[in-house]
Symmetry: C4
Subunit: 217 residues, 4 copies
């Protein structure tokens, strides 16, 4: 006689489920943060003839949806690349990963704010702090992964230094843009973020050890 | 003496986690885009006696929820079929996949718009652009998968040509419907989308090489 | 010299990814449908002293959140049990599964409606139709799984008949409750749903072939 | 001649999919509950000059987003650690896990309430009940896992007693804080929750059997 339904058991077959959960849980947070901003746009409730103007006024929200998708998508790519280097996870890494995900999950708010109130310093400051924290925690995760011996291949000192520096560059630029936004203008602060690209490029040319893959890019 | 909790490690056992993450992350975006439109419907706040009319006025939103589910569900099926042909993913494919997912995640907005403002050209144009971009990026992903040698079986030139054409058909129909919506009527534009089905059918009959499986349908 | 980042490839190692995606994608839709109703509750905006009454008026929404969680949770358990019997999926099964998921994703709306407007027939009718469709599509999936030879173990005719009947019982009860709601009272219709339990129990006692596991419960 | 698309089948290769689904489904609920609170914050609609005050008034919602992320994140870590001890799942464990997830999914509501109405006893009581239920169900899951022989290693009686007590400590503190909130003050009730930390610490020192790993932390 077979077991009644309440006696059925489903066996574990994947000894690596705990590692996988950290990656898939992170992916879920990324996916939700990237997607749900579209709900916030909201369908305008106007007379048919007023739709074009109503949509015109929705434009900053639509733009910030796509912007947010691109920005968080880039962090997802970096997270994906970082995890590709991991052979295991430790408790401290999981903790820092959670705080990092809190910054990622929060990103839609300052993005929408900066889209709607581009001229107000407070928008730019919140955006800069959120992404600065996310990039800074990437650097912390590299250091933990190295210290706790979590990486597939132990990186050379030169590669570690380069990888941490590459994650710190956005932090420096974002933090540096805060006084620009408060004292000079939000536009100058926004444009200062473009500096991230040449700085990363120069860093890669001068500090990246040849023949080694970077931890993230 | 065992390690304290903070010393526990969870080992990776799945060497293909990076490939899996791309598929599961895409699924999460699809699932959220398909499901969260229901939140937007909102429970009407009226006197009990006014509920029937209130629900009547919610009808376009309810219809566009199911329409959006069907439309995005079809893209999910195509994405699922495409990934079944992949033996690996490359960085360019992941990038294009992200942009494709941005179009998918945005779909609920133009769908709801077209449901609520069927007579306004701007609704039809936004819908046509969003799905046109999604279908166009499918074709780009086929080309990248072929060029970067990511496919399980190298497709014949004839099959590649057919698969790209099949993905381009909706792009042509959607783009072609934009002037129809702006110059003639939104109804004609809407009906023109039905052309996708006979065109795809005719294309399959004339161009699909026999004895080969298509990359997507 | 190593490949630059854009040349990195991530290999597939899981030949069963396509099967897994169907299950995990379904889980994502279930999880979102179960969880996001909490957003709809909304924090009341009142003076501190008015909070107790404000929460009192939120009670139907809170109750319908938990009710919805329980109802959809039960469908998730049945879906989980059904998939445990599957050795493969076919295209028709994936299609019906998508339509089934549309009904699941829609459930929060009629649940909230029935919680807020318990006395209006239209609420009860929408709820009955949504869950009736979901249960009916479960029966369709059993038939497809049997016809397309997707099951781990071919079930006996008797077991198939029992499993389909067990999925059809809620359909009959829900459909039968629609005239009750429209002609007699919503309360009678609501109570008629309780019939599902003794009917399922009686069916299991009389029709379930001994020594075989059911397809779902 | 190959099968037409509708004849394609995707085979299962993972016998442990049913176990994995329970973990990944739980992760999806956790991720949604943690992330979607950000949607609720809402971009203020004010004149540019009024943004700073408008954001000031959003502060409790922003704080409760991060608080909620930390609180639910901690439950996720405990759930992750508990599942690391599981070799299989049973039907009763899946049922209790679903009810536990309902409490987790509900958490954003009392968190936001307690952030907005810190001085009202009802906020504190709802928060205490929700987290008390979640922690209590953790204890129930330990007992079921032990009773149904679901654990990788059978724990000693001493370890089981310690693990259940460690999960019950927050229940006792949360329940005990309810009369404090109603009779004395919400502030005293809030501070009483800090007792959880020294109590857990003392319990670990006095009751945790040496040389054994705890079921969760």
């Amino acid at each position: 006689m077979p077991d009644p339904p309440s006696r059925r058991r489903y066996e574990r077959h994947n000894p690596g489920l705990e590692f996988d959960r950290v990656a898939f849980f992170s992916d879920a947070v990324f996916a939700i943060a990237m997607t749900l901003l579209v709900v916030g746009i909201g369908i305008p409730e106007v007379a048919e003839s007023g739709l074009d103007e109503a949509l015109e006024s929705k434009r900053p929200e639509i733009v910030s949806f796509f912007l947010s998708f691109v920005v968080i998508g880039n962090y997802w790519l970096a997270h994906h690349r970082f995890f590709a280097n991991l052979a295991r996870v430790s408790h401290p890494l999981m903790l820092v990963n959670l705080v990092y995900l809190a910054a990622i999950a929060f990103t839609p708010f300052p993005t929408a704010l900066a889209g709607r109130y581009t001229d107000r310093p407070v928008s730019i400051v919140m955006y800069a702090i959120t992404l600065g924290v996310a990039s800074g925690l990437e650097a912390v995760m590299f250091v933990i992964a190295d210290r706790d011996d979590l990486l597939v291949r132990r990186p050379s000192r030169a590669l570690m230094r380069y990888s941490v520096l590459a994650a710190v560059v956005p932090v420096v630029v974002f933090v540096g843009s805060i006084p620009l936004a408060l004292l000079i203008s939000t536009e100058v602060a926004l444009w200062s973020w473009v500096l991230i690209f040449p700085l990363e490029y120069g860093l890669a040319r001068r500090r990246k050890p040849p023949g080694e893959e970077e931890l993230t890019g």
